[in-house]
C-alpha cells in the first residue's frame, strides 16, 4: 500500500470540483428566480413594464413569438370593408374573404398574445404585497387596465371566453377551457377599468392613465348599450388634459401629442422594441408582399367624407399603380422614396407608436353616447363634439343633425386603418348588412357567423372536448 499517498492525492484532486457547496444547485446567471423577486416597488414596476412589453409584442417573423398588437389589423381592419391583402393570397387573405379557418396562425397568435397580457397582469396582481402603499394602488390599476384592455379586444373578437382573473397552471384545465358567457367577461372588464380610472392620473401616454381607462370604459359601455355611463365618461375627458392636433398628420408623426390618450410605444431600429406592421403595409418591404391595402370602398368613403384626411390616410402604391396603401403609419415617417419601398432606415424595425385611443375617438364616442342607439340626434353637445372633428379635417359646413350613418361615416374616415371599423359596424348593429353587401360585391364569402373568429384549433384540441367552437367553424 505504498501508493496510498498517490491515491489520496488523486482523490483530493478528483473531488475538488465535486465537493463545492451546492454543487448540484448552480445559480442561474442569465435569469432570476421569481421566488425571491418582487420584493419592492422597483422590482414590481419591472413586472408592470412587462405587461406593456406583452401588449407591444415581439417584432419577429415567427408566429411562435407573441406578436401582440402588431398583427391586430389582420383580425380587425382586414376583416372589415376597409382593407385587404395586396395579392389576395394565403392565410392573410382568409380575413378579407371571411373564410378564416380554425387553424389560422394569426388568430391563434392574437389569442395567445392577449392572454399573455392577461397573464402578466395577473402576475403583478399576485405580487403586490411588498409594494408600498403609495405605489400599490397604481400598480394594481395599471395591471387591471391592461387586463381589461386585453379582454375587451378578445371578447369582441371571440365571444365567450375562459375567465382567467388569477394565475393558473397547466392543470387548471377547467378554467382554461371553460367558455364563460361574454356578459361575465364584461363584468370583469368594467370593474377593472373602473378601478383603473379611480386610481390613475393623466401623466402617461404609453402607460395606463385615468383618461385611457375612462375612454376605453366608455367604449365598453357603448358596446353594452349603457349610453349614459358612456356619456358621463366621455364628458369627464372632454375639456381636460387632451385636445385635437390641428394638423391631422401630426397625430401619427408627432408622437405623444396632445391628442393621444393611450398608445403602444415603439422605437426604431431596435429589434426588441420596434414594430413591423409599418413595413408589412408597404409593397414587399416586410415579410409579406403587402397587407392592409386599401379597398375601393374605403377610398370612396375617404374621398366623399374625409376632407383633408383622405390624402393623409392613403396613397397610390408607387410600384403598382392599381393598388393603394395606408399612409398613417409610414415606416419611421419616411415615404419610401420614388418607388415607395426604398427606405433609408430598416422599415421592418419601425418606431411609430400604435395609437389605441385618441381624443377624436372620445369626441365621436361622445356623439354616439348621446345618439344612444337612435337614428339621429341634434343635441348641441353632440354637434359640438362632431363639429370639432370635422373642422379639423377642413370640413367647415355646419350640421344641425347627426344621423347614425353620418356618425358611422365620420368614424370610418377619421379612424380609418386604426382597427376601429369592424367593431364600429358591430356596435352600430349594421355589420351584417354592410359586410354582406361588401362581400357580395367582391365575391367573398361573408355570413353572420363570421362576425366572431374561431377559437384557435390548438385550444380546442388541447381541451379534450371541453372547449366548444364558435358556430360556423
Amino acid at each position: 500500500m505504498k501508493h496510498i499517498k498517490y491515491i489520496a492525492l488523486a482523490f483530493i484532486g478528483g473531488l475538488t470540483i465535486s465537493c463545492e457547496t451546492n454543487f448540484l444547485e448552480p445559480v442561474p446567471e442569465v435569469a432570476v428566480s421569481s421566488a425571491g423577486y418582487f420584493q419592492n416597488d422597483e422590482q414590481i414596476e419591472t413586472g408592470v413594464i412587462g405587461i406593456y412589453d406583452a401588449i407591444q409584442g415581439v417584432n419577429s417573423t415567427s408566429l411562435d413569438d407573441n406578436r401582440g398588437v402588431q398583427i391586430e389589423y389582420y383580425l380587425t381592419e382586414m376583416r372589415s370593408d376597409n382593407t385587404r391583402t395586396k395579392s389576395q393570397e394565403g392565410e392573410a387573405a382568409q380575413f378579407e374573404e371571411f373564410n378564416v379557418t380554425t387553424q389560422n396562425g394569426l388568430v391563434a397568435n392574437y389569442y395567445r398574445s392577449f392572454f399573455n397580457v392577461i397573464y402578466r397582469a395577473n402576475l403583478v396582481l399576485d405580487n403586490l404585497e411588498n409594494a408600498t402603499t403609495g405605489s400599490s394602488a397604481k400598480f394594481e390599476a395599471e395591471a387591471k387596465f391592461a387586463r381589461a384592455y386585453a379582454y375587451f379586444n378578445l371578447v369582441r373578437l371571440f365571444g365567450d371566453l375562459p375567465l382567467v382573473n388569477g394565475l393558473i397552471g397547466p392543470l387548471d384545465t377547467d378554467i382554461a377551457f371553460t367558455r364563460v358567457p361574454a356578459a361575465n367577461i364584461y363584468e370583469l372588464i368594467v370593474s377593472d377599468f373602473e378601478f383603473a380610472a379611480n386610481n390613475l392620473d393623466n401623466s402617461q401616454k404609453n402607460r395606463a392613465s385615468r383618461a385611457a381607462a375612462q375612454g376605453l370604459l366608455a367604449k365598453v359601455h357603448l358596446t353594452l348599450g349603457n349610453y349614459t355611463q358612456a356619456q358621463v365618461l366621455c364628458e369627464s375627458i372632454i375639456g381636460g388634459d387632451y385636445s385635437l392636433e390641428s394638423n391631422f398628420s401630426d397625430i401619427f408623426y408627432n408622437e405623444s401629442n396632445n391628442e393621444v390618450i393611450f398608445a403602444v410605444g415603439y422605437n426604431p431600429g431596435v429589434e426588441a422594441d420596434s414594430q413591423d406592421f409599418s413595413a408589412e403595409w408597404m409593397n414587399g418591404v416586410g415579410r409579406t408582399a403587402g397587407v392592409n391595402y386599401v379597398t375601393n370602398e374605403a377610398i370612396e368613403a375617404l374621398e366623399t367624407f374625409g376632407g383633408n384626411r383622405a390624402s393623409l390616410s392613403y396613397r397610390q402604391d408607387l410600384s403598382q399603380a392599381t393598388q393603394y396603401q395606408v399612409t398613417k403609419y409610414l415606416p419611421n415617417g419616411e415615404d419610401g422614396g420614388a418607388d415607395g419601398k426604398s427606405f433609408n432606415t430598416d422599415a421592418t424595425m419601425s418606431g411609430n407608436d400604435w395609437i389605441v385611443l385618441r381624443y377624436a375617438d372620445v369626441l365621436l364616442m361622445h356623439v354616439e353616447s348621446i345618439l344612444a342607439g337612435g337614428q339621429a340626434t341634434s343635441a348641441a353637445a353632440a354637434i359640438s363634439s362632431f363639429q370639432q372633428v370635422r373642422n379639423r379635417a377642413g370640413i367647415s359646413d355646419t350640421v344641425s343633425e347627426i344621423t347614425k350613418q353620418d356618425l358611422l361615416n365620420e368614424r370610418r374616415v377619421e379612424l380609418a386603418f386604426e382597427n376601429q371599423r369592424l367593431f364600429d359596424l358591430i356596435r352600430f348593429g349594421v355589420a351584417q348588412e354592410k359586410l354582406s353587401a361588401f362581400s357580395g360585391a367582391n365575391g367573398y364569402g361573408f355570413s353572420a357567423t363570421d362576425l366572431l373568429l374561431p377559437i384557435p384549433q390548438r385550444e380546442i384540441n388541447l381541451s379534450n372536448g371541453k372547449m366548444t367552437q364558435n358556430p360556423g367553424y
Binding site: 501508493h3 491515491i7 482523490f11 484532486g13 478528483g14 470540483i17 465535486s18 454543487f23 448540484l24 444547485e25 448552480p26 442561474p28 446567471e29 435569469a31 432570476v32 428566480s33 421566488a35 423577486y37 413594464i49 412587462g50 406593456y52 412589453d53 401588449i55 407591444q56 411562435d64 389576395q88 394565403g90 387553424q103 394569426l106 397568435n109 395567445r112 392572454f115 399573455n116 392577461i118 397573464y119 382567467v164 397547466p170 387548471d172 378554467i175 377551457f177 404609453n206 402607460r207 408622437e255 405623444s256 410605444g265 422605437n267 431600429g269 431596435v270 429589434e271 426588441a272 414587399g284 426604398s342 432606415t345 430598416d346 422599415a347 421592418t348 365575391g443 384549433q457 385550444e459 379534450n464
Partner: protein, 1070 residues
C-alpha cells in the same frame, strides 16, 4: 467485416507485463559514463577553473546520464551480431495470415506479416520472437541460427481473449451478457464522408443513422432501437476515450483516428451510464501506438459528390405549354411570354452544384515497452453538393501512455481541432419553386424584357428578378408571382459560417494496489469555442441595403469530468470476477454573446465596422452540474455461467431539490450452452450462448428551445425585456416558464433476451436479440392552454414502448488461399407504441402555425402519428382558376373523404395517416479478397416510415391563389380541404441504397519495398451509387427530417438532397 479484435486492449495487457531493466545494460552504461567522465575531467584540468566546472558537471549529472544512455543503446545495437530472419506465418489450414505482429521480446523491434503471411526481421541469437494475432494463440520462437521460419498459429476458436468495451472497462466477449455491438475501423476511414457517424450507416443492427441533412458538415440523426424519449433528444450518449461528449463533437473527429466503436444497446449494458444511457451509448476508442518500430501512415482520398435530384420537382415550360395548348387550343399570354424569355431550366441544377471532398491524414504511431505514443494530423475539405456549403477541418491528436515501475502508469490524450463550415444559407424549398423561365443574371436577350418604367437601372449581369419581367407586351402581361430577389442571390449574396475550435484532452493515472486491484483517477474535459457569423448582402433580400446586416455570435463551453474508480479483476480457479466501483463529477459552463449590425449601404465591408446600427445584443451564462456513484460486478463460472450486476446513482443540477437523484440498477445473465459436456464436442455447434438482461436507464436532456429553461426547469425564471415608455426603453422582467420543481428523470426499463451462436467452426456466426424498452415519466415539453400565459410546460408524463428483433448473421463463404468471401447480414425491426399519455391522450399538435398540419399522440399508436383527412379526388382542371400559372403548380385543395358518412367534412373525418418510424432496417455486406484485390459492397434499406413532405406545398406552389378552385363553378365545396391537411403529402419514406462499394488493390511487396514503403494500397469507393425511393415519394431525400419535437416528428420541408460520391484514395505505410 470482422468481429471485435481490440488490439489496443491486448497491447495494454502486454504493457502490464513487467520487464526489469537489464543489469547488463546498466553496468555498460556506468562503464561508459565513467570513461566519458574521465575524459572530460582530463580536458577540464587543462583549463583554469577546474573546481567550478567540476561542480557544474555534478549538477548536470542527470542530463548527461540520459544523453550517454542514449548513445550507449546505439553502440550496443551496433556492437551486437545481428542477422535477418524471414519466414511466413500460416494458420492451421495453411492459409497465410496477414498483419500478424512479429516482435522481438523486450525490445522495440517489430514488424507485421504481409498479405502472403511473409515477414523478415533483424534478430540476434538468443532473441525471442513473439507472433501475436487476434483470434489466435500467441507463439514465441527462440532464435538460434535459423534464417527461415515457418510459424503455424493455432486458432483460438473460443476467441477467449477478445474483449468488448462496456464502459469503465472491458469484458471478454465470451462473457458478455448484454447487447453490445462492436465495429472495428478496418476500412471505415475509406468512406468519403466528413463525419465519423456518417460512415457507420448500416454497420450495426438496431442503430439507425439517417442523413437528415445533406449540407456539408451537417450531423446525421442517430437512433438506437427507436425513439424512446419524447423530449428533444433521442440521441445516444457518445463517449470518446472515456469522455462523454455531445454528438456535435463527432463533426470534429477524424475517422482515421478511430480504432473502434462499441455500442451499448440494451439498458443493462448502458445502465453504467445511468441517467444518460436510455438512448444507447456509443463508445469510441481512438487508435493507440503499438510497441515496435514507429509506423508512419498516410491516408488520402478525393471524392466527387453529386446530388440526387427530384424529377417531380422540375416542370419545364415546354411541357406546361404543350399541356395548355392541348387543353385550350391557344397559349396564354403568360406562357407565351415565358417561352419568349428563352430559358427553361431546372433550378436544381443551379443550387445542387456538386462538390469535391478531400481528406489527408498522416499518423505516426509506435513506442517502446513502457511508453507508447500515437500522433495524427488530419485535413478534410468537403465542398458539399449545395451551392455555397463548404466544410473544412483540421485536426490533430497526441496520445501518450507510459508505465513507471510496476504499479503505476499514466497517460495523456490531447486533441485540438478546428473547423470552418460555410452554410447553404437558404432553404431549398424556397429557392426551387417552379420558375424555370427565370434567368440567374440578365444577358443581352433577357434585358430587353425588363419593365423600364419601374426598373430603369437594370443592366446586363445584374440578378434577374421576377418583377423585372412584368408589364410586358401589348396586354401589359404580369408573369411574376413574387417580389422576391433572385433565388440564387438569396444564397450567393449571403455568407454564413460556423467556426469551431475544440480541444479535448484527458490525463489519467492508474495505480496497482494489489494483484488484480487497481485504482484509476482521470481528469478529462473539452473546451469548445463556436464563432458564428452571417452576412446578408444588399442583393440577398428584396429590400436591398436597408435589409443588409451582419450578425455574430461567440459561444464558449467548458466541460470537465473527474472519474475516480477501483477495478478488480481476479480469477480463482473457475471463478472469474471483475468489478468496478467509483464516483464521478461533471460540470459544464456555457457562456456567449451575440450582436447584429445593420444600416449598411453596400457590400464592400462585410463586418460590424461598416454597420451604422448595432442591435440584438445579448449574452448568456449557464451552468450544469452532475455527480454520480457507480459500481458493477461481472462474474463468470467456468466460462459457462455468466452474470453481471450494476448500479448507478446520478444527481443532476437540472432537477428540483427533492428529485435530483435517480437510481439505475441493472442485471444480466448468460449461459454458454456450447461449453456443456453434451455440446462440447458437437461438430455443428461451435458456440451457443443464451443471455438475458434487464435494467433501468434514464434521460435528463430537455429541449424546450431555450437553454435557460432546459437547464433550470425547476425554478420559476424571470428574464429581462423592455418596453418603450415616452421614447425610452424601460426594463421589464418577464416570466420565462411554468416551473416544475417536481421534475425528475425520464426512466427507461428494458428487457433483452438474446442468443449468440457459431456453427461449423465459426463459418456461420451471429446473434438474435429481442428487446422491449419501455420509457415512462417522460420528460415532455407538453403544450398547455395559452390562457396560462405560456404554450408549453415541462412535465413527466406518459409511457412509450419500443420493441423489436435484431439479427446479425456473419458467414465466411469461401476461405481459400487466393479467394476469400465473407458476408454480413444485419436486420432490425422496431415497433413504437404510446402506452399511456394520461390527460393528454389524443392530443393533436402542429409545428407551424402557418401550415398547421396535424399530428396526434394517441395511446395504442406510435408516439407521433400523422393526422388529417383522406384524399378522395383532385379538383378537376376545369374548376381551377388558372391551372398553368405558375409553371408546374398544383391546386392547393383537394376533395376529401367523408369517413363517417354523415354528409359533411369535419374533425370527425380525420384519421391517422401514417407514422415516421421505420419498421425494418437492414443491410447486407459482402467482402471479397482475390489475390491483391479487395472488394466489398454494402446495401442498406429502410422500410415502413412515412414523411410529411411539406416540400410539395412549396414546390408545387399549393398556396398560389391563381390555382384556386373557382367558387362559382366548383361543386361540393364543403368536401374540399387544403392538401397539407390530408394524406396527399404523407409519403412513403422507404428506400434501398447501395451505401458503399469499395475496390482496393494492394501493391506487391516487391514494388512496395522498391518505393521504400511497408504497405501501399490504392482504392476506389462509391457511396449511394444506387438510391431507390418508394413510389410516390417526390422529394430528394426521404431521410431528411426537420428538427421538431418528438411528438410532432417526421416533418420534411424539402431539406437538402441525398448525394452520391465516387472517390479514389491511397493508404501508405512506411
Amino acid at each position: 467485416m470482422h468481429t471485435c479484435p481490440l488490439k489496443r486492449i491486448l497491447l495494454w495487457r502486454e504493457v502490464n507485463i513487467k520487464s526489469p531493466l537489464r543489469v547488463i545494460d546498466g553496468s555498460k552504461i556506468i562503464i561508459l559514463y565513467l570513461l566519458v567522465l574521465v575524459y572530460k575531467v582530463k580536458y577540464l584540468k587543462s583549463q583554469t577553473k577546474i573546481n567550478l566546472k567540476l561542480n557544474e558537471l555534478k549538477m548536470n549529472l542527470k542530463t548527461k546520464f540520459l544523453l550517454i544512455a542514449l548513445l550507449l543503446v546505439n553502440i550496443q545495437l551496433f556492437a551486437q551480431d545481428s542477422f535477418m530472419v524471414s519466414g511466413s506465418v500460416k494458420d492451421s489450414n495453411s492459409l497465410p495470415l496477414l498483419g500478424v505482429n512479429v516482435t522481438v521480446k523486450n525490445s522495440t523491434n517489430g514488424t507485421q506479416t504481409d498479405f502472403d503471411g511473409n515477414f523478415s526481421i533483424e534478430v540476434k541469437t538468443g532473441d525471442i520472437l513473439r507472433f501475436s494475432y487476434v483470434g489466435f494463440v500467441d507463439q514465441d520462437v527462440l532464435i538460434r541460427n535459423q534464417s527461415q521460419l515457418l510459424v503455424v498459429l493455432a486458432e483460438d476458436l473460443n476467441l477467449l481473449d477478445e474483449v468488448v468495451l462496456v464502459g469503465y472497462g472491458s469484458r471478454k466477449k465470451i462473457h458478455m451478457t448484454g447487447a453490445v455491438a462492436s465495429v472495428v475501423n478496418d476500412d471505415l476511414d475509406q468512406i468519403a464522408v466528413a463525419r465519423v457517424d456518417d460512415a457507420l450507416v448500416g454497420q450495426i443492427a438496431g442503430v439507425n443513422i439517417a442523413a437528415t441533412e445533406g449540407e456539408a458538415g451537417s450531423a446525421p440523426t442517430i437512433r438506437v432501437r427507436g425513439v424512446g424519449s419524447l423530449n428533444g433528444s433521442s440521441a445516444p450518449l457518445i463517449v470518446v476515450d472515456g469522455l462523454p461528449v455531445d454528438s456535435d463533437f463527432l463533426g470534429n473527429l477524424d475517422m482515421n483516428e478511430v480504432a473502434s466503436f462499441d455500442v451499448l444497446k440494451d439498458a443493462s449494458s448502458a445502465a453504467i451510464y445511468g441517467s444518460r444511457g436510455s438512448n444507447g451509448v456509443i463508445l469510441i476508442t481512438t487508435k493507440q501506438g503499438k510497441e515496435g518500430k514507429t509506423k508512419f501512415s498516410y491516408n488520402t482520398y478525393t471524392g466527387f459528390k453529386e446530388a440526387r435530384q427530384s424529377d417531380a420537382y422540375y416542370a419545364s415550360i415546354a411541357e406546361t405549354a404543350a399541356a395548355e395548348l392541348a387543353a385550350n387550343g391557344v397559349l396564354s399570354d403568360k406562357t407565351a411570354y415565358k417561352q419568349q424569355i428563352g430559358i427553361d431550366r431546372d433550378w436544381q441544377d443551379v443550387i445542387f452544384d456538386g462538390g469535391v471532398i478531400q481528406n489527408h491524414s498522416f499518423s505516426a504511431r509506435g513506442g517502446s515497452e513502457n511508453t507508447k505514443f500515437s500522433t495524427s494530423l488530419g485535413y478534410l475539405h468537403d465542398e458539399g453538393v449545395l451551392l455555397t456549403d463548404d466544410f473544412k477541418r483540421y485536426n490533430m491528436r497526441i496520445k501518450l501512455d507510459t508505465k513507471v515501475g510496476n504499479n503505476f502508469k499514466f497517460g495523456a490524450n490531447l486533441a485540438p481541432s478546428y473547423s470552418r463550415r460555410r452554410r447553404f444559407d437558404g432553404s431549398t424549398h424556397d429557392i426551387l419553386r417552379q420558375t424555370p423561365w427565370l434567368p440567374v443574371y440578365h444577358d443581352d436577350n433577357t434585358i430587353q424584357y425588363v419593365d423600364r418604367n419601374v426598373y430603369p437601372d437594370v443592366i446586363v449581369g445584374d440578378y434577374a428578378l421576377q418583377r423585372h419581367f412584368d408589364n410586358y407586351g401589348p396586354n401589359a402581361t404580369d408573369i411574376s408571382n413574387t417580389s422576391n430577389t433572385n433565388p440564387a442571390a438569396k444564397v450567393l449574396e449571403r455568407d454564413r459560417n460556423d467556426y469551431k475550435f475544440k480541444l479535448a484532452g484527458s490525463v489519467y493515472a492508474d495505480f496497482k494496489i494489489m494483484d488484480g486491484l487497481h485504482f484509476r483517477a482521470s481528469l478529462s474535459g473539452d473546451y469548445q469555442n463556436t464563432f458564428r457569423d452571417r452576412w446578408q448582402g444588399v442583393e440577398s433580400n428584396r429590400n436591398g441595403a436597408s435589409a443588409a446586416n451582419y450578425s455574430v455570435s461567440n459561444e464558449n463551453r467548458i466541460h470537465m469530468v473527474t472519474e475516480n474508480y477501483f477495478t478488480y479483476d481476479k480469477t480463482f480457479g473457475a471463478h472469474d470476477i471483475s468489478a468496478i466501483a467509483g464516483i464521478s463529477a461533471e460540470k459544464w459552463d456555457f457562456q456567449g454573446d451575440s450582436m447584429l449590425g445593420s444600416g449598411y449601404t453596400s457590400d464592400l465591408i462585410k463586418t460590424l465596422s461598416a454597420a451604422t446600427v448595432l442591435n440584438s445584443m445579448g449574452s448568456f451564462k449557464y451552468a450544469e452540474r452532475f455527480r454520480s456513484y457507480y459500481g458493477r460486478v461481472n462474474y463468470a463460472y467456468d466460462d459457462k455461467y455468466l452474470a453481471s450486476v450494476s448500479y448507478r446513482r446520478d444527481g443532476s443540477s437540472i432537477f428540483g431539490v427533492d428529485s435530483k437523484f435517480g437510481d439505475f440498477p441493472a442485471a444480466s445473465f448468460g449461459w454458454r450452452v456450447s461449453e456443456e459436456e453434451f455440446l462440447k464436442d458437437s461438430e455443428v455447434i461451435s458456440n451457443l450462448k443464451f443471455r438475458v438482461s434487464y435494467g433501468f436507464t434514464g434521460n435528463k436532456d430537455i429541449d424546450t428551445g431555450s437553454n435557460t429553461i432546459d437547464l433550470y426547469p425547476s425554478l420559476p425564471l424571470l428574464g429581462s425585456s423592455s418596453a418603450i415608455v415616452n421614447g425610452s426603453a424601460q426594463t421589464a422582467f418577464i416570466a420565462l416558464n411554468i416551473e416544475n420543481p417536481m421534475l425528475q428523470w425520464e426512466r427507461l426499463q428494458e428487457i433483452n433476451p438474446g442468443v449468440d451462436f457459431g456453427l461449423f467452426n465459426g463459418i456461420v456466426s451471429g446473434s438474435v436479440d429481442y428487446y422491449q424498452r419501455t420509457s415512462d415519466q417522460l420528460l415532455l415539453y407538453n403544450p398547455v392552454s395559452s390562457t396560462t400565459g405560456f404554450d408549453s410546460a415541462l412535465v413527466n408524463l406518459g409511457e412509450v414502448r419500443n420493441s423489436g428483433l435484431e439479427l446479425e448473421l456473419r458467414t465466411r463463404n469461401i476461405t481459400s488461399e487466393k479467394f476469400r468471401w465473407s458476408s454480413t447480414f444485419l436486420a432490425s425491426t422496431n415497433k413504437n407504441e404510446l402506452l399511456d399519455f394520461a390527460d393528454a391522450n389524443g392530443q393533436i399538435q402542429n409545428v407551424d402555425a402557418k401550415r398547421a398540419s396535424e399530428w396526434i399522440n394517441s395511446v395504442g399508436n406510435p408516439i407521433s402519428s400523422f393526422y388529417g383527412w383522406v384524399v378522395d379526388k383532385d379538383i378537376p382542371l376545369e374548376n381551377l382558376n388558372n391551372p398553368y400559372h405558375p409553371v408546374g403548380a398544383e391546386a392547393q385543395d383537394v376533395y376529401v373523404k367523408d369517413l363517417n358518412g354523415d354528409g359533411l367534412i369535419d374533425d370527425d373525418d380525420k384519421t391517422i395517416l401514417g407514422n415516421p418510424y421505420p419498421d425494418l432496417i437492414w443491410s447486407i455486406t459482402n467482402d471479397f479478397k482475390i489475390g491483391n484485390v479487395d472488394f466489398s459492397f454494402l446495401f442498406q434499406g429502410s422500410h415502413g416510415a412515412e414523411v410529411r413532405n411539406m416540400g410539395d406545398q412549396y414546390l408545387f406552389n399549393h398556396f398560389n391563389s391563381a390555382m384556386d378552385f373557382n367558387s362559382a363553378t366548383t361543386p361540393n365545396q364543403g368536401f374540399i380541404k387544403e392538401k397539407i391537411f390530408t394524406n396527399d403529402i404523407i409519403q412513403d419514406a422507404s428506400y434501398i441504397a447501395l451505401r458503399n462499394v469499395n475496390l482496393g488493390y494492394k501493391f506487391s511487396k516487391k514494388l512496395t519495398e522498391k518505393l521504400g514503403l511497408s504497405s501501399f494500397r490504392v482504392y476506389a469507393t462509391g457511396q449511394n451509387l444506387l438510391y431507390k425511393t418508394a413510389d410516390g415519394y417526390t422529394g430528394f431525400n426521404p431521410e431528411s427530417i426537420n428538427d421538431t419535437s418528438p411528438t410532432t416528428y417526421g416533418y420534411q420541408r424539402a431539406g437538402s438532397p441525398i448525394f452520391s460520391t465516387i472517390s479514389f484514395g491511397t493508404n501508405i505505410e512506411f
